[in-house]
């Protein structure tokens, strides 16, 4: 905080100065009186009109940096050293009033979950208008501005949205509202903290399109925090890779993603399935060890403990900044030895998928009764699982994926006429009336291991109970079995005596998977098992699932919104929409083309980490309510290939295009192959 540097800048100075400059920022969180380092000297700049991305595992300091960019510190956060500047003005030296003025007029932040980011008790109009009132507009002026702001983010019927409450809008609409509020002051600096993480891929694509479009209008600088590398790749100009409170590599997205120059970046990129990688090709790379906890005292190169090419030098000397190309640098002693970073292991042994159907979902419909109305959540679903097969299930939220999973598990009973079969024998509808063999046959891995595991129990007790309940083994034999299972999950005996809260997210998910395998199941239903995890942990879990499948010969129903992950793990993919299977086929076939228009749109919405410019097919509007499905083909309201006079009248049958590949569509293969009209495509540059 030197006095000489906090001068008021000249106007010319302001324009030239970067919208955000973080300079040697060191921060700690004080926990029970002890300061714990979270940022260890972060330096980067975001220039006017530029989009800068920050990536890294959780706990590396991304979000702290984002908050620090607006000097919004939690009450126990302390800046130990360094400065944050915007337009040449030093935020770290501002008074409370100056800071409020800065936030009101020059900077904005958009949070991860739009549902949480708006006040549930105030009308949308009031909240958006407030952002303008803060800047000195009168109530009436602010209302007019608010309406204009909502129009700018392309919200349908903005006047009526103004009068609505947050709970009456969908997540995608709310994120638009939040962005509209964020843009109220035409910010010089816009900070987006995981803006699309909780959203469906299709909604995510829409929101990203919006941000991209507004960027060109606004010329504001964007700092984007995301753990989805594809989002960073498609949205940002430059990217900084953070590890343990430091930026370890920085450069343009193309440079960093295509020519990663730090072992950590390489590890991160290798841990996601890129370029259509499949489980039959190679394992995913998972960075060994875990990110250090906040406040750990670390050697000079923070990554050394997990680095495959580290030497003693890395412990003693701070790694220098090595320029790779113009503006692309890395902090590594051994840039020349990057080739030695091991590639993921190729898979050599091939396991065949069995031919006999183990579990069958036969003509299953599920209708809920809600306020006297029928709500069909599943309509005539037919699926079969062969031994050792993974069936990927994709679709937007509300498409019935979870209902299908719950019906298979016997949480819901299917409607009359449908059945879940085990090796041809019909199982009882409800899990409570199923015989032991049937109960054992299907198990489940949940998305969030935190709430799936009993927090008061040790891992050993959690596993022990499942073993006893499901296999009837007791006493010493059960103890042995618990240890066997744990070993298979790469859990050490030390972990067995811990409680869930003492374990990291990845380890907890391993425990959950171990529990699912305790009864030697035929099918394991995995509901988004990796979406709460960091990419390197996700890689380890996916590898584990693939290996277990080969050893145990069990089948998976793998539900995920991450198309890349589904493509990696699944042998077949089923696409659901409003409770119906719209398309099903072998993974290879699904990605080779001729898809249902819905699949086509879903696939085009995925932001690719490989940076291939693709034409995105926007899915307009949100998924219709299952209580009131559109007539004819349920997808026709959002279909870019709908045929007037046919699709809204008759519901198409599921027709087989080639062996094992079926779609529920009226269009012929020729019609589906026609290029899409240019006006429906959102072109990404």
């Amino acid at each position: 905080m030197t006095v000489t540097e906090s001068h008021t800048p000249e106007p010319a100075d302001l324009a030239a100065a970067p919208a955000l400059a973080v300079d040697g920022l060191e921060m700690s969180y004080v926990v029970r009186g002890t300061p714990r380092k979270i940022l260890r000297g972060v330096t980067f700049e975001v220039r006017q009109g530029e989009a800068y991305g920050l990536v890294g595992e959780s706990g590396c300091g991304k979000s702290t940096t984002a908050y620090a960019a607006l000097r919004y510190l939690p009450s126990n956060g302390v800046i130990d050293a360094g400065r944050v500047l915007s337009g040449g003005e030093e935020l770290t030296a501002m008074s409370a009033i100056e800071l409020r003025k800065f936030r009101a007029e020059r900077a904005s932040m958009v949070f991860q979950d739009p549902v949480q980011a708006v006040n549930p008790v105030l009308k949308i109009g009031t909240q958006v208008a407030e952002a303008f009132q803060v800047m000195g507009q009168s109530k009436a002026e602010a209302r007019v501005s608010a309406l204009a702001a909502l129009e700018r983010v392309h919200i349908a019927a903005p006047e009526s949205v103004m009068e609505r409450y947050p709970h009456q809008l969908s997540g995608g609409m709310l994120q638009r509202v939040v962005i509209a509020m964020g843009l109220a002051c035409d910010p010089t600096l816009l900070v987006l903290d995981e803006p699309t993480t909780g959203l469906d891929a299709t909604v995510e694509a829409e929101v990203l399109d919006l941000v991209r479009e507004l960027r060109s209008e606004l010329n504001s600088a964007i700092l984007l925090i995301a753990h989805n590398l594809g989002v960073i790749r498609t949205m940002c100009d430059r990217v900084g890779v953070m590890y343990a409170g430091r930026i370890v590599e920085e450069g343009t997205v193309a440079e960093v993603f295509d020519n990663p120059s730090h072992p950590y970046t390489k590890g991160l990129l290798n841990s996601i399935p890129r370029r259509g990688l499949r489980k039959t090709d190679s394992e995913l790379f998972s960075i060994p060890g875990a990110a250090p906890p906040i406040g750990a005292s670390l050697p000079n190169c923070t990554f050394v403990d997990r680095c495959p090419i580290a030497t003693d030098l890395c412990r003693t000397d701070v790694p220098p900044i090595v320029q790779r190309s113009d503006g692309h640098w890395t902090r590594c002693h051994h840039v020349d030895r990057l080739d030695e970073v091991p590639e993921p292991e190729k898979v050599t042994v091939k396991y065949d998928i069995g031919t006999e159907q183990v579990i069958g979902v036969e003509g299953v419909s599920k209708t809920f009764r809600q306020r006297g109305r029928d709500v069909p959540a599943l309509v005539g679903v037919n699926l079969g699982f062969a031994e050792g097969e993974t069936l990927g299930l994709v679709g937007e939220s509300g498409s019935g994926k979870s209902t299908l999973a719950k019906t298979m598990l016997g949480v819901h009973a299917p409607d009359e006429g449908g059945a879940i079969t085990l090796r041809g024998r019909t199982m009882a509808d409800k899990a409570t009336s199923r015989i032991e063999e049937s109960v054992r046959a299907i198990s489940m891995v949940f998305q969030n291991p935190d709430s799936a595991l009993n927090r008061a129990w040790t891992v050993r007790r959690i596993l022990h109970r499942s073993v006893v309940k499901l296999t009837g083994v007791k006493g010493a034999a059960a103890d042995r079995r618990v240890e066997e299972i744990a070993e298979g999950m790469q859990l050490s005996t030390r972990h067995l005596d811990m409680r869930p809260r003492q374990l990291s997210g990845g380890l907890k998910q391993r425990v959950a998977i171990a529990r699912a395998f305790a009864g030697d199941p035929e099918v394991v239903v995995c509901d988004e098992p990796t979406s709460a995890l960091d990419v390197s942990v996700q890689a380890a879990i996916l590898n584990l699932l693939a290996r277990l499948q080969n050893e145990e010969r069990s089948s998976y129903l793998f539900i995920s919104h991450d198309i890349g992950v589904v493509r990696y793990l699944a042998d077949r993919i089923a696409v659901m929409y409003l409770g119906r299977i719209m398309e099903i086929g072998a993974t290879q076939t699904m990605f080779e083309g001729v898809n249902h228009p819905y699949t086509e749109a879903l696939l085009s919405a995925v932001p690719s980490v490989d940076g291939v410019a693709e034409n995105r097919i926007p899915l307009t509007g949100s998924i219709p309510s299952p209580a009131n499905p559109p007539p004819g083909c349920v997808f026709h309201t959002r279909c870019h290939r709908a045929i007037a006079g046919l699709c809204e009248v008759t519901e198409p049958e599921l027709v087989e295009l080639s062996p094992g590949h079926s779609i529920k569509c009226h269009l012929t293969v020729e019609q589906l192959n026609e290029p899409i009209k240019a006006d429906v495509v959102a072109t990404l540059s």
Binding site: Y72, K101, R103, A104, A107, F111, P120, V121, L122, E130
Partner: protein, 320 residues
Amino acid sequence: MLRFILRRLMLAFVTLAFLLVIVTLIPNIAPGDPARKIAGGTASPERLMQVTESLGLRDSVLTQLQKLATSVFTLDFGDSFSVAAGEPVMSLVWSALGNSAKLVILALIVIVPLSVLGGLVTAYKKDTWIDRTIINVGIAFSAIPDFVAGVFLLAFLAVPVDFFKVQAAAPPGSSPLVQIQHLLLPVIAVLMVYFGYIARVTRAGTITALDSDYARTAFMRGLSIPQVFRKHIARNALQPTVAVLGTQLGYLFGGMVALERVFGYQGVGNLILRAVDRADYPVLRAGVLAVAVIYMLATLSADLLIAYMNPRARQSLGDN
């Protein structure tokens, strides 16, 4: 919304009807002969018969119930037997209700702002010495029963300091200020019991609201701390507080028996207690029903206030 209010009123009627049955049954199933209790141990059999007759206890239970229901609708419960022999029951109840209302309203005026403020401050200063001091003092006071606190207050304030009065009831015809002066000690006793409770409920609600992204958004928008509290925190954070106050209000009316005793105050609680003591069933019946009605009105208004504060609650009310 209207449907919700109607439904709640219906529910209140059902509850009242149920209560009516129980209240009717009390003298019929209470141990001992109520007539003997009223008329005294030495009363002649004729006198006993007469009292039983006037209690209506010779009628069938159904007839009693019907008579009581009529009393409810005409607001006429006849005359008191023993608490204030010969006086109309309703005039006793009205005066007791008036006294209780004075005490409860004054208590609320003091308790609500203080404890809500305490809750807001402790939430904002979470985990600091300010937070710990206020909350721990609150808990310590809550642990003391109100009548014990009352006795202590009498001993340490009313006796040495002339300003504080031993009697909660001011002499008849006193000005409102003097009446308030007399009520100060019981109000302080109630405050001691409730401050910690309400402050903690408010604190919890405020911490949740302060931790939310919308509060963060508001701060990031450049609003000042008071603005954020007023516009964004209050309506979210105070919903549990309102719900708690709704249920406690009903309790305060009928449940402060011991405190009213200590300060010699003729509130509803005291009236019901005396009615029980002297087997004055008409007064007991009317008093219990009055407390029940107030309890229901208090919770209903709390629910309506929450519905006003929270649009989602409003919607679910409309749905049900």
